[in-house]
Symmetry: C4
Subunit: 281 residues, 4 copies
Amino acid sequence: MLQLDEKILNQIIKPRPLESHKGNFGKILTVGGNQQYGGAIILSTAAAIHAGAGLVSCATSPQNLTALHSIVPEAMFIDFNNKKAVSQAAEKTNVIVVGPGLGIDIPAVNILENILRNSRKNQFLIIDGSAISLLADNQKLFKFLKEKQVIFTPHQMEWQRISGIKIADQAEDTNKKQQQKLHATVVLKKYHTVIYHLDGTSSLLPIGGPYMSTGGMGDTLTGIIAAFLGQFHLKDYEQVIDAAVYCHSAIAAELSSSHYIVLPTDIIGRLQEFMAQYTNS
Amino acid sequence: MLQLDEKILNQIIKPRPLESHKGNFGKILTVGGNQQYGGAIILSTAAAIHAGAGLVSCATSPQNLTALHSIVPEAMFIDFNNKKAVSQAAEKTNVIVVGPGLGIDIPAVNILENILRNSRKNQFLIIDGSAISLLADNQKLFKFLKEKQVIFTPHQMEWQRISGIKIADQAEDTNKKQQQKLHATVVLKKYHTVIYHLDGTSSLLPIGGPYMSTGGMGDTLTGIIAAFLGQFHLKDYEQVIDAAVYCHSAIAAELSSSHYIVLPTDIIGRLQEFMAQYTNS
Amino acid sequence: MLQLDEKILNQIIKPRPLESHKGNFGKILTVGGNQQYGGAIILSTAAAIHAGAGLVSCATSPQNLTALHSIVPEAMFIDFNNKKAVSQAAEKTNVIVVGPGLGIDIPAVNILENILRNSRKNQFLIIDGSAISLLADNQKLFKFLKEKQVIFTPHQMEWQRISGIKIADQAEDTNKKQQQKLHATVVLKKYHTVIYHLDGTSSLLPIGGPYMSTGGMGDTLTGIIAAFLGQFHLKDYEQVIDAAVYCHSAIAAELSSSHYIVLPTDIIGRLQEFMAQYTNS
Amino acid sequence: MLQLDEKILNQIIKPRPLESHKGNFGKILTVGGNQQYGGAIILSTAAAIHAGAGLVSCATSPQNLTALHSIVPEAMFIDFNNKKAVSQAAEKTNVIVVGPGLGIDIPAVNILENILRNSRKNQFLIIDGSAISLLADNQKLFKFLKEKQVIFTPHQMEWQRISGIKIADQAEDTNKKQQQKLHATVVLKKYHTVIYHLDGTSSLLPIGGPYMSTGGMGDTLTGIIAAFLGQFHLKDYEQVIDAAVYCHSAIAAELSSSHYIVLPTDIIGRLQEFMAQYTNS
């Protein structure tokens, strides 16, 4: 297992080409945020914007519109109950994040199915939180993942649901076996997160710590991964995912020297300055 | 009476165990905030999150949803008129704060009763503000407090209401006598707050001052107590309460050297860095 | 005419008495903010809170509730269409600000009349913006100002409306004559603001400048005056008004050395630290 | 083609005249922001306020009211569906920005027509984003631009729509030819933006970079141009436009030394201090 270190940031975070426009840095669509968990999709969206995504639309409950704009007026809004608007947005995007705060009720399943059904071949699909649980319970939805570039970002209980492996049995070998069957990258979030790659290799995240054990932390990660995939165009895109995961925890580690706990909002607020350190490589 | 000093922070605020997850640091439920007093529950919730609680849900009026997320997108939301959702949340939580901005009308009584009825034996119940007044007026609700770990956080008028002791007569002995009958910890907020413990001892807070005489200060304290109880697991949990009360005023005292008055928002914004100072003990 | 200088701040801004509570520092009610001008009453309310008022309630349009709490969760809210709630709040308060963003339509007149009718003898009434224009057009409302401590804060056009003196003719003598007829303190806002006192004296503000020519600046002043009157209890309360007016412009002047223009939000954010400088006098 | 440099800021950003009032620094009306793109008009409005406009009203969807005030309580609000209120506001203003986030549906066309129809001879009309596309598709609206001071701020695709010149063919000569037919200043936003003036000259912006390729950047520019036109009264007002465009990118360039990408919100937050540097010229 490759142990990630700071070099991954030097490899991935590059100065931007001078002649470029927003489209070069990714059109991101984030989908989630019901009445109860609206903050999750707001954090994901804000993280994507602060991590450098070119254009970010957030498909969420209309109840979250105003809080979204109060936190990131840079975001665009789509009512996630508007099936047509969501499917059109899904088609026109490079990277989709689906799941943060989506919930597990019937409307949530319908939204997830609509997104998956309308996503395109060459898209990145970051599937997080309740969307993972929904997939585990609706196996027929897996057919829509074919020929997409799928990234799952489960915590251990969500991994249990989708892999069938109980938390106590989640060892590297068993995890890898199930991940390979999913034909997806798996970012298994835990103390020392592991990223399982499509080619059977995996990366270990040796940084991060309990100062990150706070609500919304995983939602924030999805936004960073989305922004990195949207703007850093490597053939081996799983290196880009590795870098995003490392970046998220490296910022938290840095802040933890002065903060007892690190909040998602803190990480989001530090992204732009943190990333600037790596452009002189 | 024990006079609290900074040592209590060194004793209680400890480095977090490396292998841990959000659940280890408390599931908090804050309940309150009607149309008039929505800010109160937002401040309580924000304080809990910044003080390190693992997961925080806020049951409040739907009118407060957007302001809640604008201030702390890390919070989760529950409509406090949704009896079933509130009772389910009450069951699944470690610490409940009830009262900030709840009001004293009929719906408020019903919400309070619902919360108390559905709280569990080993839970912490922090009862603040209007919830104290409501209890004083609805003695039948006291039966739900049995075998819970109850903390009252009255100011002197609220203490008068629930103890029957007029403010002029609130001396240590009479206070203690009534507090013992309540089988609850009492944080009596005043110039030099006193914390009355279950075992008959009490702690005096020698810090704090008139720069704290501003709306929302007590609401903020409830959130800090909740977060501390959620994450610092001592058998003698009243030491944890002492530490939370000390922390709240110590931050205010520190800020008062540069601020004519200290606002709740200032204290909330300083919690993470302040607490970081005590992990090297 | 007395020329104000920094000494007025040393005279008025005093260390708070140690044994005190929120009630000692003023219960403020701010009234205004229709759909079009909601920001005005939010700025007034936020200024009152940051300038040290004990408790601040804002009676405004329900459309402004969420933005109010997003900016100052410390504030309490009253629907200004709720006649009973507003009149009850008016009775229980020490200082009323009425006018910022109130508008001049029929509902606005009714709200103003309700406030004036329910204000009490010993209250401070700060009448600003559209409330001044409404009074000018509804002379029958003047009877409610009797035996109150009234402060008008007009700009020159509003002063023309209520005094009948055209802007070109607004000289010290003519102004004073009309101000004396009003039995009110008049803060005439202009380049070098003048405060006309009840005893016929007046104070000149020699500071402030064109960096303050931006929307919301006067609304912010009303909140500072309210907070000062609520917490600094001098028999000669017009000195307190002088200090509040000086404080507002002194902060702006200080910030103007680094800011091309100074926004109301900047002044509000600087109040607590600015005022702290004057407690060692 | 004139290559702009920092001198343009020294020429345009002047100390304000001492005796002045808000009206001297411009009454701005910003129009845009449907449900999907509300952030765009909020950013434009916030930029106008922070860049020194005297008074700024924002005509937008009621859904954006609260987020607008949460970000800039200094702004005034108009429901953009209220035809009468919008047309009255258009008449009373010095500078109109129309387009950011307006959308291209039927209501958007009607709002645009209402604005253009009610604008006055000596007004500045900044036409941006979807309003440019709408004009391209509704040629009959051009008649309302006669004898106005019109500024178009297209990106290359919008310029293609309104000029008929395909992006690949957008060379200086062809651009200028079409711009002259429009009788309008054209700020053509691209890597090295060009400003085409009414007299046939043009200015090249040699600064700015890919750190600006993020959603909302152009919306922010419209607010800065509006504020500059509102407060800096030069006969040759196109120099003022040049300065606004330079200012926007100069702030971004400055921030890019420490920020991997620069967000609109960052530029808005830096405007006041940045502009203060140029008043000693």
